[in-house]
Structures are given as structure tokens and as C-alpha cells.
Symmetry: C2
Subunit: 199 residues, 2 copies
């Protein structure tokens, strides 16, 4: 049986929980609390030296970390991974975009609002400025395509859905983003969808 | 003929130049100056809405951006991409690590030193703290393996080499990182290697 090390608050962890649910792959869940530094213990650093969840432990003792790498692994040979070589690279492109241009702003703004102290206004303003820039790129793309890659639901959608669907928890206002809102709905209607809290 | 939009100063662009040279794939190079905002013109934003280099234009009019997605595309079917499914995901893992935990610190510290004004000490200290954390993870990994994935030279090495080999331009001191220094040497000795300036 696979083991998934995860924190229920994490959108990066939710990506993995969502794909595994949709692939009907069972796993044992071990919850770690990021805020209590439970991913920075010597024991956990042996599993992932970068001290982050999600991390997968396979039966043979190997580990895999980085949410989008885990999505990549499990999507191989399934409808969640495109068939065409260009489309595959395009899925990697959107996952890189998510980790570099989206997550550090959209996810971190949300994280700042989950901390006990209110976030510094300057820091939050920077997260909002760059987060909205990422959301605008998504909104534009979704004006001509129902999904991010190959016009069908793939792990590129899962990667981008995880923090976009809770952007409002980071005080992003999605009211002017009609294409994103339609896409969020389409993702939620996919077979075997699980929510962030239940997944 | 492929076209590569790039800025010679960019390590992200160098990743692509290095792989294309090692694969002996010819391309037309169009240089854009990031500091002059030449990647933010309406014309370029039609090629890559995220306004970043490197971006590839294919003959059929399609584009591909994100350095590690471009590496992924061209490495398919070549020795630069591992054969095993786990190793492939592990290569994606290291490329995600590079973009999320390495580049924003190691590359950005270098970029700050290329700007006309000296960088703010607080900002630089944060880049160094997190950049050294990434370098320590690399140093540890390279203590047991000659390369990052599957014990051979792959695009995971190219992705991590690009900014690590110029980390000293961002005032990182690699003198305590013997494993990284040996690995940098091994990468440089690969067939058809090109330098950042010549590539």
C-alpha cells in the first residue's frame, strides 16, 4: 500500500489526493502539521530532504516528492496525461507555471491568512499583484479552451485547480474571472471528484 | 527551423541552449533584453502570455515556454531522459525543486547583482539563506550519486547546472560544497558541452 504524507490544509497535497481518488488508487494517509514543523523532523527529512509535503512512500522503500512530479508519475498511462508529445510538454509547461508564477502568490496569500497574526500589508499587496497576473493568464487561456491542455481534463487542470478554487481564502476576488469560474465548475463536475476537506 | 527567444544572461535560457547543442538541433536565436522589458511587448506576449524567455517557436506556429518544459519536450526519446517510470518522475521532481526551491534564490541573488543599484541587504540575506538550503540538499544528494537521476547525465542535471555553476555571481561561496564542485566538473566534461556565453 502506498503511503501519502500530507497536511490537510495543503493545496499541493490536495492535488495528489484528488488524482489518487480519481484513479481509484488506495493509500494510507499520514498527516503532518506544517505549522508545527512536523515536516522538518530528522525522521521526515530522511524521506524528503527538502522537508515538504506531499511526499509519497512506495512499498519498495522509495520516496517521491514535489506535488507535480507525483501527479506526473501516477498519470502515466491514464486519461489524465495527454497522448501527444507537444501536449505532454504543454502539461509540464502549465505545471511549471503553477509552481513558479501562481503558487508562490495565490497559495501563499491564503497561507498568510491562516497564520495567527494578520499578514503585513506590503507582503500581501505583492502576493495579490503577482497572483492576479497569473489569474489573468489563466482567464485569457480559458477564453478559447475548456481545459488547459488538449481540450480535456488532465493533471494540468488538477495542478491549477488546487489553489485557484480556494483563492478567495487569500482574499482574491474572482468576480471578474468568468472563464475561471466556469472552469472551476467543470473540474468539480469530473467523475470521482473529491473536495479539499474530504479528499 | 526552430526559433528560440532568449536573453544571453538567462540561466533558464542556457538550459535550452545547452540541451539543443548536445542534441545537435539547429535553431534561430532571437535575443530579447529582459532588463529593457523586451519580453513584455504586445508582440511577445502573443507568443508567451507570461512574458518570459526562453520561449520556443515551432515551424507549425505553436509555442512552448517554461525552460524545464522545453527540456522535457526535446529530451523525449534521447539519452537525456531516463527510461524508467520512477526515474522519469524523479527527473520531474528535481526540475520542480529547481524552479521552486533553487532558482528563486540562487538565480535571483545573481540577477540582483546584475542590476545597476546594489541589492538591499535584507533581500539578499533571504536569497542566500534559502539558496544555501537548496545547495545543501544538492550537496547531500551528490554524496551518494554522480548525477541527480538514474546515476547518469539527464535534463535534471542540465536544469540544476544552469544557475548553480554561476552561483558565485550571486555571491554564494561554494568552497564547502565539494560534491557540487565535482558534479559541476562532470557536467562540463559531457560531450558537446557549450558554455553559458558561447551557447
Amino acid at each position: 500500500m502506498l503511503t501519502l504524507y500530507d497536511d490537510p490544509i495543503s493545496g499541493n497535497g490536495y492535488k495528489v489526493r484528488l488524482l489518487l481518488a480519481q484513479l481509484n488508487i488506495p493509500y494510507d494517509l499520514i498527516e503532518l502539521d506544517i505549522l508545527k514543523q512536523e515536516t522538518r523532523t530528522p525522521e521526515f527529512l530522511r524521506k524528503n530532504p527538502n522537508g515538504r509535503i506531499p511526499t509519497i512512500a512506495f512499498d519498495d522503500g522509495r520516496y517521491l516528492s514535489e506535488s507535480n512530479a507525483i501527479l506526473f508519475y501516477f498519470a502515466q498511462g491514464t486519461p489524465f496525461w495527454p497522448d501527444d508529445r507537444y501536449d505532454q510538454a504543454d502539461a509540464v509547461r502549465w505545471m511549471c507555471f503553477e509552481q513558479y508564477s501562481h503558487e508562490p502568490y495565490v497559495a501563499v496569500a491564503r497561507f498568510l491568512h491562516h497564520l495567527p497574526d494578520p499578514p503585513a500589508p506590503d507582503l500581501l499587496a505583492e502576493k495579490h499583484e503577482k497572483g492576479y497576473a497569473a489569474l489573468k493568464i489563466m482567464e485569457q487561456h480559458l477564453g478559447t479552451s475548456a481545459y488547459f491542455v488538449a481540450n480535456r481534463y488532465t493533471i494540468a487542470d488538477i495542478a491549477l485547480y488546487a489553489y485557484t478554487h480556494v483563492a478567495e481564502e487569500g482574499k482574491f476576488d474572482l468576480s471578474g474571472y468568468a472563464n475561471i469560474k466556469s472552469w472551476l465548475h467543470r473540474v468539480k463536475e469530473q467523475p470521482r471528484h473529491v473536495t479539499m476537506r474530504s479528499g
